[in-house]
Symmetry: C3
Subunit: 267 residues, 3 copies
């Protein structure tokens, strides 16, 4: 199932197979540079995937050997011609797409090869897991383009890697290798280029072997605790433990005590 | 001095020697799986140790070559039979034990070998230092048990290792080695299996060579600054510098200026 | 241009060349131990550099092969004789100097060789980038001096490296090598001793190749997002995107689209 093949040269494809969605950035010959239309498609696709109760996880990747080279700079003279348009571009085009990825209810895995810079790195930073091929390259060399990273874009990097690494990336504008990105906390793990597919398959299988409701609740809890210092409300506490009334918890415990593999059927 | 050898097959032992307390999780043949009784003993023991003004540090470890395999799942059908009991189990049994460890006034060192998963990892994450044998194994594969990590348990992992690592652990449910745990920020250091005892002895000696009141104040200050964005009150400022009226500060400075080793006698 | 060669044996030197300021801690024969006068000079110099609109970056380093051995302990019997003076020393002498470094508007790079402990490490933790020679040594062994780290000093370490690493440093009081400091997140990168100068030159060049206003805005945004959970105000949003009216943004985009190197002339 291919959804909304956008007009124009770049598009975001999305298909769902066995409860796993794959979202593919595809802008041929441009290292998947992300156009205004593609940012909009990302926001739309992730909003739809997020509300699909059967989905076990989402994979984000790029076509043609690259993740994404960032926002499409060829559009800049038109879409960023003055302060109002610059602000609209960042706040009304990019920010909602990144927010939709970060807010996605099922787990999101970025599978990264080739170039992953600028907006590409911003997308990856909003995913839950980041698998990278050793040959992938990372950075945000926008200081050479004359502009800083917008607040809603920097937020994801700060949450993932902290202030020192975020500023290092932005102040120096270096493009660096996957092993360095891993050491900086930007990645979950790095594998040989030829092992990216098998590692992705294994990671998806690990996610799908777990209870689906537990995965969604773990994401909710982490976001809640990191984003809000207030104690949980009674309603939030009830939501945290509502799983006890569902099928996953007794299934998992029974399987463990019997020494068998649990089968979680979703909801 | 062995305190409160609990009835039943699992127990938490505690002894104090030369101002160093050792707390041992001991559940033979069960990789120290932590029963409801043991969680209660942990809360009680740490509350008592925390109020001992002479204690220089606390070591937490497991008997029989393992740290802890997590909560004792054999109790689950009884103690987690419905939503109310699940919530009580996490909020009234586990959370107070973890809080007591995190709130312990003297420094706490986890000495980790063998299995350190689930509740074992939650305990380790609340300690100040985490020394691990290279053969130790880490994780929280509770997604296979059908339930998410409760908020008060996740809090310690988030504070130690951040959202990305916490979610990686929970979403994938992998069990991984000590070197990977170190790279993820979950450990202070890793040594060869046969060097864990000597490293623990050396670490305890380093803690005991420092001024005891300074150690306790450093813990207080770190917790205060991380947990509360408000400026310190006058009372808090006075508490921060009250050490200047005690014996440790002039002793330390005089020893340094004379080129001798300081001797801190406690309070 | 050498500014304010202080009286006494220790001083902080500052010179500006090609829009790059170099601030040098210089206390011969004392591994640049920082006197009360030197802390005052640091606060003054950084306040002045921070308000220089033409500056592209600031380098902080030490003379004679060391960064800094920390506060000058020989002054302690005089300046830290009782609680009031201890509090004044930390809150009115050290805290303003560290704050001035952390608040510096242009990017700040620490170039670290030799000893970087105590107050030296506190200074380094407030810089944006930390380059270290492999032979550099790090720590804060003040537990042997009988006192804890003051809150305003610990804040920088907590923000940079988190609670676990900060407490490890303070509770154990170990002095450790650059590679370990890198793994703990205390450094941007480590190079061979003989490569520190060339790495510093290259890093300064990378910073100076970027748009100056973008660098300053990136620093502002990171600080704003980390320090304050409130949404940005309209005024703050306008400030974030004011660069769109300046020369850097069109210059950078035009250069990119033409395939040439951008030339940013400052403001």
């Amino acid at each position: 199932m291919v959804l909304k093949p956008a007009s124009g040269s770049g598009q975001v494809q999305s298909r769902i197979e066995s409860a796993v969605a794959t979202v593919t950035l595809d802008h041929p010959g441009r290292m998947n540079a992300i156009t205004v239309d593609m940012w909009g498609e990302l926001a739309e696709i992730f909003a739809r995937l997020s509300s699909d109760p059967d989905l076990r996880c989402v994979v984000v990747r790029g076509a043609g050997g690259h993740f994404a080279a960032g926002a499409d700079i060829r559009e800049f003279p038109r879409v960023r011609a003055d302060r109002d348009r610059v602000m609209a571009y960042h706040r009304q085009i990019i920010a909602p797409a990144l927010q939709a990825i970060g807010d996605c209810v099922p787990p999101v895995i970025a599978a990264i090869e080739g170039v992953c810079v600028g907006g590409g790195l911003e997308i990856a930073s909003r995913c839950d897991l980041r698998l990278a091929a050793r040959g992938a390259r990372f950075g945000a060399p926008i200081n050479r383009l004359g502009f800083p990273m917008a607040p809603d874009e920097m937020r994801g990097l700060l949450e993932l890697a902290g202030r020192a690494t975020t500023l290092e990336i932005l102040l120096e504008g270096r493009v660096f290798e996957a092993d360095e990105a891993l050491a900086k906390g930007l990645l979950t793990r790095v594998v040989a280029n030829e092992a990216l597919e098998s590692e992705l398959t294994a990671t998806v299988a690990r996610l799908c072997a777990g209870a689906p409701r537990a995965a969604r609740l773990n994401k909710w809890t982490a976001r809640r605790l990191m984003g809000n210092p207030m104690p949980l409300s009674d309603t939030e506490w009830q939501a945290c433990f509502a799983y006890a009334d569902g099928p996953d918890h007794p299934q998992g415990i029974q399987a463990f005590l019997k020494g068998t593999d649990p089968v979680f059927t979703g909801e």
